[in-house]
Amino acid sequence: MSWAVEICDLNVWYGGNHVLKNISLKIPKNVIFAIMGPSGCGKSTLLRAMNRLLELNPTAKVSGQVMVDGINIYSDKIDVTWVRRQFGMVFQIPNPFPHLSIYDNVAIGPKLNGLAKSKSELDQLVRWALEKAYLWDEVKDDLRRPAAALSGGQQQRLCIARAIALKPRIILMDEPTANLDPVAAMRIEELMLELKEDYTIVIVTHNPQQAARVSDYVAFLYLGELVEVGETSQVFTRPINKLTEKYVVGRIG
C-alpha cells in the first residue's frame, strides 16, 4: 500500500511545552482520515506539522519525520513553500481574504504560484475549483463581490475552493464545521465525501460523531499522545484502548 503521509516519531514543543509525543501513523491515499480528541490534545498542531505551517509560531520546535510520497518534508533540502503547496488547508474559522473578491480569493494562490499561464486558464481554474466546492452556482453571477459578503457556510466552501485551486495532493481541514450551522456543516461533510475521490483528506475534529460519520480512518489523540489509530468502524465498535472507548461514548472530552 502506498501512503499519502507517513509520520514517524514526531515530537513538537512550544517553548518548553511538549505538545506532541512520539507520534507515528500512516495515512492511506484517497481516504478521509480523522484526527479526534478533546480540546488541547494537539490535533491542530499535528495537522500544522504536516504542512509545516507550525513554523509560523516562532516558539515551535519539531523532531521526527513526516513523509509525503516518500519525501521527508523536514529534510534541509526541502523548500517549505513546496511542502505547503502539496497541501490545501481549510481552517476552523472561515477565513477568506476579506479585502479580495470571491474570484480573487480562489485565483490568488494559483496566480502567485504561477499555476495558470493565461487569464483564460486562470478563469477556468477558478471556475473548476468553485464547481468542485459546490459554490459556483451560487456565486457565478457576482464573482467580483467581496468574499466577506458571503454567508459563513459559503465562505467555508470558498476556502475549500481556494485550497483545491492549488491542485494539492492532500487537503487538511481543521475543524471545518465548528463555526457553521448544522445545515452548512452537513453540506461541507457531503463535499468532503465527494472530494475523497481525488484527494486525501485529513480532518481534525473534536466531535466523535463527525469522525464516525465521514471518516474511513481515525486517530485518537489524548494529551499529546496517540492513543489509538485504525479503521473508523473498528475504532468505534471495538476500540482496543479503554481511553478510546470512554471518548467515543462521550465519557471524556
Binding site: 516562532p58 505547503r84 503547496r85 488547508m89 476579506p98 494562490g109 504560484n113 492549488l166
Partner: protein
C-alpha cells in the same frame, strides 16, 4: 438635593468645562490662521514668486509650495520605504531581540528634538557638498517620519488576524509574497494611515529644514543638490522679517499649510472609518 449630589454636579461641570477648554486652543489657532491668512490666498498666490518686501505687488508662495511638495514626496519615498519595512519587521519578528531593540530606538526617535536631526543632516549632506540642498532636507524629514511610519505599520500588520496569516502562508507563498501581495491588502487602511501621518509630519516640520535647504525664494526647483524652499521655512523667515507685506504672505502660507495638514488628517480619518465599516 443632598450635599453629596451637589458636590458631584459641581465636579462633573468642572470636568466638562476643562474638557471644552482643552479644545479651545486648536479652534482658536484654526480660526485665527484662516481669518488672517485666507484673504491673501488665491490661485496666483499658490503659483507666484514672493513679493519684494516693500511695494504693492501681491506675490505668492509658489517656490515654497513646490519645494514642500517635492520634499514631502522625497521624504516619503525614503522614509516611507524604510519605515514600512521596519514596521513589517517589528510586527512579524517581534519575538527577536533585534526587533525589541529597534522598537525601543524608534520610540526614542519619536521624542527626539528634530532640530538635532537637521543638524545631523547638515553634517552628513550639507558640509560635504558645501551647499544647502534639497536632498539634505528630504533626508532630515525622512529620519523624522521613519519612527511614525514604522510604529504605525507595525500596528497595521499586527491587527491582521493570525488565521488570515495562516491562510496566506498555507498557499505555499514565500514570506515576501505573502506579506506584500496578500496580507498588505488586509493591512491597507492602517498602512495608508501610517503614510499619511508621515506625510503630515513632513509637511509641517520646520526645524529639520533650518540647517539643510536654505530656502531658495526665487526658484521652484533647481536640482536635488541645490537649495529649495518649503512653506514652514517661508513662514519662519517671513514672520520674523520687519516687513508688513511679508507678514501677510506668512499668514497666507500658514493658511495653505494648515489646509494641507487638515486635508491629510481628514483623509486618514475617512480611511480609518471606511475600514471599520
Amino acid at each position: 438635593m443632598s450635599f453629596r449630589k451637589i458636590k458631584e454636579r459641581i465636579m462633573l461641570g468642572l470636568i466638562a468645562i476643562l474638557a471644552l477648554l482643552s479644545a479651545v486652543p486648536i479652534f482658536a489657532i484654526i480660526f485665527s490662521v484662516y481669518f488672517e491668512g485666507m484673504k491673501y490666498v488665491s490661485l496666483s498666490f499658490l503659483i507666484d514668486l514672493p513679493p519684494p518686501p516693500i511695494g504693492d505687488e501681491v506675490g505668492g508662495i509658489g517656490p515654497a509650495l513646490a519645494g514642500s511638495l517635492i520634499l514631502i514626496a522625497l521624504a516619503l519615498a525614503i522614509g516611507g520605504t524604510i519605515g514600512f519595512f521596519t514596521g513589517l519587521f517589528l510586527s512579524e519578528f517581534s519575538h527577536t531581540k533585534l526587533a525589541q531593540q529597534t522598537q525601543m530606538i524608534l520610540q526614542i526617535m519619536v521624542e527626539f528634538p528634530t532640530i538635532i536631526v537637521g543638524l545631523f543632516a547638515y553634517a552628513v549632506l550639507v558640509l560635504p557638498l558645501k551647499r544647502f540642498n534639497a536632498l539634505a532636507g528630504a533626508f532630515a524629514l525622512a529620519i523624522v517620519i521613519i519612527p511614525y511610519i514604522a510604529l504605525n505599520v507595525k500596528e497595521a500588520y499586527k491587527s491582521i488576524s493570525f488565521t488570515l496569516k495562516e491562510a496566506a502562508f498555507s498557499l505555499g507563498l514565500s514570506a515576501p509574497t505573502a506579506y506584500l501581495r496578500v496580507l498588505l491588502g488586509a493591512a491597507k487602511s492602517g498602512v495608508l494611515t501610517a503614510l499619511l501621518i508621515g506625510m503630515a509630519k513632513a509637511a509641517g516640520e520646520t526645524a529639520p529644514l533650518l540647517f539643510t535647504i536654505l530656502g531658495s525664494t526665487f526658484t521652484y526647483f533647481a536640482g536635488l543638490d541645490q537649495p529649495i524652499h518649503a512653506i514652514p521655512l517661508l513662514i519662519y523667515n517671513f514672520a520674523l522679517s520687519p516687513y508688513e507685506r511679508w507678514h501677510q504672505v506668512a499668514w497666507g502660507a500658514s493658511a495653505v499649510l494648515l489646509t494641507i495638514i487638515l486635508t491629510i488628517f481628514l483623509v486618514s480619518r475617512m480611511i480609518i472609518r471606511g475600514a471599520r465599516t
